[in-house]
């Protein structure tokens, strides 16, 4: 059930929630509510992405909170630090997790997570990272600076995957972390890095904006296709998280929801098909 509170006075949902909490306290019940026929308690959506060095946390927090608060009192909590985010996942908070599919695969091995939705951009749920370099010869990358919007861990992982014939090169690379894919790509053109790791779609975007810059970049390594970010939950929270998942699934259909998704580089979130779900479990 989704609660929409339009009034600017004190939201009735908050009063109901407060009353429910009080009753639960009296009853000595410290557990979540059953999903059916009940008003769900507010949940928090925790966000972290090692694939993009998100440096707009204040905007994300403000915009998603503004969207979620009148729809059930839910909150959005972005993280800049992987360890802190992972501690949240381990603590099994009352909430959901919006995270990269690459990170999901790692965490799903340690925690009983269930993917609910997958992001979509340009009509696709998949992306592919590549190395874009000044030189077409991968051997020229040795000991060079490579720019990426991902974390160093992410960069090293995709480098190993993309340069299987040159396993000696990734450890020698000097990784420069920048805020966005397009920064990484332009850093090569402007001499701050010798190569960049970025999504193919970002290079296509650069080509539309500045073909001359794009022409300086030679794609030399190709990663596997991976899913865009997923919205996931601890399995025993799956029922309780349905209302929030529904909200996110509907975001792409309303202008105000879409505006928020665009902040994450997405245009929609959809339920995963069986193939996608299987891919995440591999």
């Amino acid at each position: 059930m989704i609660n929409r509170v339009e009034s600017k006075s004190e939201p009735p949902v908050s009063r109901r929630v407060a009353l429910r909490r009080m009753l639960l306290g009296v009853a000595g019940l410290g557990v979540g509510l059953p999903a059916h026929g009940q008003v769900p308690l507010p949940l928090t959506v925790f966000f972290y992405s090692p694939e993009t060095n998100v440096n707009n946390y204040s905007v994300l927090k403000a915009e998603f909170d503004t969207f979620l608060a009148p729809r059930g009192g839910h909150q959005f909590q972005p993280f800049s630090d992987r360890e802190t985010f992972e501690r949240q996942v381990a603590a099994k908070p009352r909430g959901l997790f919006l995270l990269s599919s690459w990170h999901y695969k790692q965490l799903a091995g340690r925690h009983p997570l269930k993917p609910l939705l997958v992001g979509q951009a340009n009509g696709r749920a998949l992306q592919r990272h590549r190395i874009f370099s000044q030189s077409a010869n991968p051997a020229d990358l040795r000991s060079q600076k490579i720019a990426t919007a991902g974390t160093r861990d992410f960069a090293r992982a995709v480098l190993q995957e993309m340069l299987p014939e040159h396993p000696e090169i990734p450890p020698t690379l000097d990784i420069l972390v920048v805020p966005k894919d397009i920064d990484a790509l332009m850093a090569v053109g402007f001499g701050a890095a010798r190569a960049a790791i970025a999504a193919e779609s970002s290079a296509d975007k650069l080509a539309r904006l500045n073909q001359k810059q794009r022409d300086t970049l030679k794609p030399i390594g190709k990663g596997r296709e991976s899913l865009l970010p997923v919205l996931a939950v601890h399995r025993d929270m799956a029922d309780e998280a349905k209302a929030v998942a529904r909200l996110f699934a509907d975001m792409g259909t309303s202008p105000e929801g879409l505006a928020r998704l665009k902040l994450l580089g997405l245009e929609a979130l959809h339920e995963l098909d069986a193939h996608q779900e299987e891919g995440l479990s591999r």
Binding site: N55, N56, S58, V59, A62, E63, S143, K145, A147, D174, L176, V177, V178, P179, K180, I182, D183, A184, M186, A187, G189, F190, G191, A192, A193, K205, L206, L209, N210, Q211, K212, Q213, L258, A259, K262, L263, L264, G265
Partner: protein, 323 residues
């Protein structure tokens, strides 16, 4: 298996030599002899000093923290806030650093005087070309603004219908910059129209005339045009009166409500400085780098008021929103 006495003696000799080397390095007796910086992938430079012009300034703090996190080796840090120029020079000299990272103009100037010739990385300095140490082959620089081509690319990204952008500039300071910007504009389908001015007052007079011919005003880092706060404010007010968007390069101008700010990401600058200093240990030559990261501030109120067509795809790049 019987131990080989010759091999044993050799191993003992090697171990003793390594121990002696470690002692000499730890006491600093070897480090400075290695052309100022230690060599080898895992060896930190002997003594890195980070000099902050004013530790109370948020963007300076950000650069310093980012440098520290990225450098991965211990550094000595010095805050010059409250120190006179002479005291700052003495404070840096007394540290006898092997190499220095300076943040802000006060730190760069003081370090240039106190440890001339030492490897130095300079950031957060407007018009860094004017620093006496700028020509020193051991002074490495991270520029304070994104390249004009990067800014223009972002203008195009956010506002695909913007075709003509006007710039007021002084020939004395920015003749070459202007020529580069015009060329870069061609690459992204934006005509950059420059009007040279000699004084801030002239810039204010020319602004209205220029705004009549362009889709947007681009307020760039020009010491003549941006002579004082009143000049800066007037430029943005002229753009608002003409109902034209104003683009600019620094978040310091957010108070004037520009439509789009394309500023360098300060944390990335700190990481770049760390990268340059690490590279010096491997014998890298002089570097002048452009900032590699961007920080975008979008004024949605201005977008609405001026009826601009905004590419919503670009929203994934926005760091701050003015509503």
């Amino acid at each position: 298996m019987t131990p080989n006495p010759i091999l044993g003696a050799l191993l003992a000799l090697v171990a003793a030599a390594r121990f002696l080397w470690a002692i000499l390095f730890a006491t600093g007796l070897i480090g400075p002899a290695l052309n100022g910086l230690a060599t080898g992938a895992d060896s930190p430079p002997a003594k890195i000093l980070v000099v902050n012009s004013d530790g109370r300034v948020e963007k300076y703090k950000t650069a310093q923290k980012s440098f520290r996190d990225s450098f991965e080796h211990p550094v000595k840090e010095l805050d010059l806030s409250g120190l006179s120029e002479q005291a700052a020079v003495r404070a840096i000299r007394s540290e006898s650093p092997t190499a220095v990272y300076t943040i802000g103009v006060k730190a760069a100037a003081a370090a240039g005087r106190s440890v001339p010739g030492k490897p130095m990385v300079v950031s957060s300095v407007i018009n860094w070309h004017r620093l006496p140490s700028a020509k020193d082959p051991n002074t490495h620089v991270i520029a304070n603004e994104l390249p004009s081509a990067a800014q223009l690319t972002m203008f195009r990204y956010f506002f695909p219908r913007i075709r003509r952008v006007g710039v007021l500039y002084s020939r004395d300071f920015n003749r070459q910059w202007m020529a580069d910007a015009v060329a870069a504009g061609t690459d992204v389908g934006i005509e950059v129209i420059g009007v040279p001015v000699r004084t801030g007052r002239a810039a204010r007079t020319e602004a209205a005339r220029l705004l009549a011919k362009v889709d947007a005003l681009w307020v760039t880092a020009d010491p003549v045009v941006l002579n004082n706060e009143a000049d800066v404010r007037t430029l943005f007010e002229e753009a608002a009166s003409a109902r034209k968007p104003a683009f600019t390069y620094t978040s310091a101008f957010a108070v004037f409500n520009p439509t789009l700010i394309v500023a360098p990401d300060i944390a990335t600058i700190g990481r770049q400085a760390a990268g340059i200093l690490k590279g010096l240990a491997d014998g890298s030559s002089k570097e002048v780098q452009n900032p590699a990261g961007s920080e975008m501030t979008l004024n949605l109120r201005a977008v609405r008021e001026y009826g601009l067509e905004l590419n919503t795809e670009a929203m994934d790049s926005v760091n701050h929103v003015i509503r």
